[in-house]
Structure formats: C-alpha cells, structure tokens
Amino acid sequence: MIIEIGHFAVVVAVVLAAMGMATAVLGLQTRNDQWVRVGRLAVTLIFALLTVGMGSLVYSFLARDFSVHYVATTSNSKLPLFYTIAAVWGGHEGSLLLWVFILSAFSTVAVWLHWRTQPALMPYLIAVESLVMFGFLALIVFLSSPFERLFPAPLDGRDLNPLLQDPAMTMHPPMLYMGYVGFSIPFSFAMAALFSGRLGEEWIKLTQRWTIFAWLCLTTGILMGGYWAYYELGWGGYWGWDPVENASFMPWLVGTAFLHSVMVQEKRKMFRVWNLFLIIVTFSLSLIGTFLVRSGVLTSVHTFATDPRRGLYILLFLTIIIGLAFGTLMVRGSELRSRIELDSIVSRESVFLFNNLFFIVAATTVFLGTLYPLMLETWQGSKVTVGPPYYNAVFMPIALGLLFLMGIGPNIPWRKASVESLSKNFRNPLLVGTTCAVLLFLLGIRSPYALAGTLVVGFVATTILAEFGKVTRMYAQRDQVGYFQGFLRAFAANQRRYAGLVTHVGVLVLVVGIIASTIYQTEKVVSLHVGDEFVIGPYRMKLLDIHEVKGPNWIGQEGVFQVFRGERLVTELRPQKRVYTASQTPTTESAIYTINMGHIFLTMPEVSPEGVAVARGVLNPLILWVWGGGAIMGLGVLLNIFRPRTRGE
C-alpha cells in the first residue's frame, strides 16, 4: 500500500512538471505574474511529492517488503539497517529517483531564494528546471520505476551488491548527484540570461555560491568514490580511469574551468560567451555522466540498467536539452561580444585563459578516451579500451601546467603586469621550488615527474605562504595584535580570495599525495603457508594463523599477519576473504595500518583448500595526503560559501 502512495505521488509530480513548464511560458507570454506563481507552486509541490515518493521507498526497504521488485533486487533481510537505507540508491531506478529528488529540492530552494530579487528571471528558471525534472520523472514513471510490484513475492531479497556495502559508497552517489544537479542552477540562470537577453554579469554573481557548492559536492563525491575504490576494491589504488570514474570527472574538469573563468567576467566583463558555453558544457556533461552510468552503455560495478529503451530515451532527452541550450547560445551569441579586450598577454586575464585551455584539453581527452570505444563499437563493431597509461601520459603534463598557473594566476595583476613586478613576485618562489627539487634529487629521487612536481608545488606553496605571511604581518602591526589575530583579521578582510588560496593549498597537498602514492608505491604478491613470512620494503610480514569468521550476511576466512620492522613488532593485520551468502559473491577485505601518513595495505585474495594463502602487500607512502588534501580543499570552499557578504553581492 505504502509503495503505491509513493508511485502515485511521482505520477502526479510528472503532471506538475509539465504544468511548471506550461505556466512559466504562459506567464512570459501574458506577462501575468499569477502564472509564474502557479509555476512556483508546481515546483514546490513536486519537491513535496518526491519527498513522499522517496519516503515510501525508504519505508518499503525498512519494512523489507520484498514484494516490491526493486527492494527484492537490491536488499536482503540480513542486510544491516545502515546499508538498507543506502540500498535505496543502490540500483538504477532508485538512483534516478534520488537524482530528481535532489533536483526538486534545489529548484525549490532556488525559486524561493531568488524570487524577491530576480522576478524577471523566475519564469525561465522555473521552465528550465521543470523541463529537466519532467524528463527524469517521465523516465522513472514509464521506463524505470522503483515502485513496481513483484508477483509472487520472493521470501527474501537478492541483496545489495557486496561491493556497495561500504560507508563511503553509501554517500558517494548522493554527493555526486548533488554536484551534477547543483550545476543545473547556474545552468538555468545562464539559460534565463540567454532567453531574456539580460546578458550582463548578474547571473554570474547570483550563482557564484551555487556553482561553488555544486563543485564542492562533486569533488567530495569523486573523492569518496576514490576512497571507496581504495578501501573496498582491494587493489591498493584509488583511481583507475574507469569509464564510470571518467563520467564524473568530465563535468568536474569543465566546472572547475567555469568557476575560475567567471571571475574574469566579474572583474573585467570579459569572456561572456565563453562562460555561457562553459556552464552549458558542464551541465551537459553532468547529464552525459548520468546517462553513461545509468543507461547500461558502460558495464561495470556501478551499472545496473539493461533496458535499451532507457538508453535511447536518455539520449533523446540529452539531445533536446543540449540542442536547446547551444541553439540559444548560437542565436544570442552575436549580441554578446564584450567590448573590452585583453590589454596584455602578461596579465591575469590571460592566465585564466590558459587555465581554461588546459582544463578543456583535459576534459576533451577524458571525453575521447571514454566515448571513442563506444563510438567505434557502434560503427565498426570492434571493441577497444583506452588504458590508464594513455590518461597518465596526457594528464601528468597538464596537471603540472595547471599547478604552475595556480602559482602565477593569483599573483599577477589584471590588465598588464610589468617585468619588475613579475620578478619581484616570482623570483623567490621559483628559487624555493628549485631548491626543493634539487634537495630531493640529492636525496636520491630520480623520477622526472616527482622532481618537476616538487618544483612546481614548492613554487606555488611559497607564493601562498608569502602572501599569508605578508598580510598577517600587515594586519598585526596595523591593529597592534598578535600574529594569529592578525592572520584571522586579514583572512576576514578578504575572505573570498583567501578561501580560494586555502583550496589551492588543498590541491597542493593532494598532488603531493598522488605523486608519492603513485610513483613510490611498492607491491608484492606471494603465496604462503601458516608460519611463513615475506618482506616488503622495510617490513616483514608473518602469517600466524588463518581462521573462519562470520558476519551478519557473510562468512569468510581471516588471516592474522604480524608486521615487523627489524625485530620490532609494528602491528597485527587481519585481511579477510568473504563470501556474501545471499548472492554467493566473494569479496576481498583489505587490512590497513597507517604509518608516517602512508599505509601498509594487505589483502588475502585467496586461500586454497590445503591452507595455502595468497597475500598481497602494498606500501602507499603519503596516501593520507590525498584524503587530507581533499579535506583542505573542502574547507576552503566552505570558507568561501560562508563568507560574510561584501558590498555589491
């Protein structure tokens, strides 16, 4: 009964979404405010109805109602409560519902938040958001319903994919979707600007916080995916250039380009067409990302769909949205030429231009590598894959270039920089960076990427530290307070800029983590009996015992390893080999010990009936810097979002 209420609510929501579009258009044509009010009501009601829909689905999961087809395929009576809730988005149908639920929540917030200040843009916002919601809701109702009943009802469910039974994985899809969907707000405002002809800087200023919030969610989602891959998949890495990872990385790359390049429009009224182009591409890639993962075009852990009609539908929907957006941009583009042009190549404007160029090339690379195999298969029937070596070869130089620009950009003046200011700003940082690289070289580091990375990281870090040092001293002296107080006052005085620099610091930390844990990873695979030991790096691992273990919905074997450094016992590690009983799926659970911000990572992928275990040890130096860097980036974004409003905002 409950699930039917949810189903009914979602069906009504489809009608309301159509109504939202219609009333918004009517409001524009008749110039009657009443229609727009009805549109606002429709958007708000969609959110309320989808809350009911989500609620009924969650209820069915908690009540373990296996007569609901979706509940029966993604959960099981023995599934722990926490994962039972997460199982709501553990499959294709529920994920789509979550997607559009988040969209309805964001749309409602956006409509009410900007209603008073932006009455002229509201009909457009309502129309665009309703269109996107309509597309997704119709897909859910007609082709991908999580509300369908199963008859006869099975006694128990098939269980959630064991690989998805992980804390990071429960929050990974919602974060990712909040990122994708978050970009729909700046997208809608951009479309509103295009349709209404109010093509100034207004939509950029309005949506700055939305953009950066969406970016924060997407970044967090991607990092959580990496975190999950690292802890759950047991191969000791966090990024494999899997098409599914790439699908979320593409909108991130263009979104990052966008949130940098809008600053140029804000400050210098340039890049107008370009910024519209970037946000359209970002949101299109968000939709394509959803399409790639949810249509069954790519098949991997994340992909559940098999119905080709779904893929066709999403493709059609994508074409409509993207065609509409780019069509309008082309029609309006001629009115958009900014009259102000670049003063000099050596200026902050041009650094932003190069930043954008790098991000676009990066996104194109990922796009090509992800979609070329699909196109080739469609047209020629031959199957290919594009391997990680390709991406690594392309991304290393791009990343170094972007990092370098990250040091230059914030410290080069707008319009035109003089040679003296350049040498004054950058001589010392370059010196520090070079010194760091030389020191590492003398310490025996020979990898060119590690050395180049160190040089650039040292350079950028010095520019940031120097600036923080300078303003701290300035404020401390001016206000006659201590350095810590001085730092806080300086930070508050220009919070948007310094929050950005904090995010940059996070990027540096992340990059150091990636370089160290990628280039200096040590791996060893051995097979051994109880009592045997093996050596990896400075550590010696001894297998003491293998015994049976049992969890709520799995059984397995656990190896007990003692880790020694010299004769000193460092720790004991207990990797497991599990079999999830409902689905009979085996999984490998890693055991991890943190030391010097790196990891000793141990798995036991196989135990033969004769008691011979295969063990795989991985040393990942500075891996914690990867997650730590991500956390600092997030902190920077939060400081940006919650900065006090300055004049003109």
């Binding site: 098949t299 991997s300 098999t306 102000i340 042009e341 670049l342 003063d343 000099s344 190549i345 041009s350 231009l353 190069f354 160029l357 790098f358 090339v361 194109t364 690379t365 090509l368 590598g369 070329y372 195999p373 031959s382 199957k383 290919v384 894959t385 594009v386 391997g387 070596p389 390709y390 070869a393 392309v394 130089p397 791009i398 270039g401 695979v525 051995v526 097979s527 799926t585 085996p586 999984t587 490998t588 992928p605 196989e606 033969s608 011979v612 295969v614 795989r616």
Partner: protein
C-alpha cells in the same frame, strides 16, 4: 583599450602553441594506446604482426583447466569461445569473480609459441553465457548477452 595587432597575434600564437602541443599530447599517441578486444578464434588466427601486441581476449574459462602455481603467484588455464581454445599463462591475482566455467577477459599478448601471456584478468558473473558458435549460427541475442557479460 583597443586591440593592438601585435598583442592579438601574440596571444593567438601562444594559445595555438600551447593548445597545439597539448592536443598533440592528447591525440598523438591515442592510437597506440587503444587495446583491441578479440575472441580466442580470432587469436589463433593472428598473423605475426599481432604477436606481442597488447590485446584483450574474452571467453569462458574451461572447467578443470585452472592450475595455480605459487612462485611467482599465478596460474595457467584454458580460455574458449566454443570454436577455439587458447592456453593462458597468468601472473598475479585473479579478481574475486574469476571462476572456472565463467566468462573472463584477459589482457596481455599472444606469443609465437601459441601461448597467451597475461597479467590482468577481468571477470564477471555470467549466468547468461552462451557459446559463440550459436552466434555464428545466427542467434543474435545471446551474442549481445555474451559480450555484455564480458564487457568491463
């Protein structure tokens, strides 16, 4: 604040230069980095210019053919598509879902001696596996399912 010609030229040149070299980086070795997918029947028919080239081969692991060895950790097994069977030498740890009688995709190279050397296996649940000769006999749907189970 008008454009001066030199500035415009300088900007366009430098953008083209950087963009061009990045583009070259992205496209220049794209072709070499493509890994093609074959079936065992296609592999046994390889001409010598395909030897020692990185490829992926999908098929079913023949029941009873898997023999593990301890040092270096790895195993040997037979991979079949119903029409042809190839011997595979694998170094490393197979994924959790690797099992005899199930579909698997191996990445590696085919040697002159008629041996496939691999250090990466991808495996999937494939209850809907259908031998490939059915596809040759004109059964279209199972082929799709077969490919689906093998696709990573």
């Amino acid at each position: 604040m008008m454009w001066s010609r030199g500035k415009k030229l300088g900007l366009v040149t430098s953008l083209l230069l950087v963009g061009g070299s990045l583009g070259y980086l992205a496209l220049g070795n794209f072709g070499e980095n493509l890994v093609y997918f074959f079936t065992p029947s296609e592999v046994v028919a390889f001409t010598p210019d395909y030897y020692h080239k990185k490829v992926r081969v999908g098929g079913m692991v023949v029941k009873g053919s898997v023999k593990t060895r301890p040092d270096p950790v790895g195993m040997t097994f037979q991979l079949t598509d119903g029409a042809a069977t190839i011997p595979v030498t694998f170094k490393g740890i197979p994924p959790d879902l690797f099992k005899e009688g199930q579909g698997a995709v191996v990445e590696g190279y085919w040697s002159k001696a008629g041996q496939f050397h691999s250090n990466m296996i991808m495996a999937k649940h494939s209850e809907d596996y259908m031998p490939i000769e059915l596809r040759r006999a004109g059964v279209e749907l199972p082929k799709k399912d077969f490919m689906k189970t093998l696709r990573q």
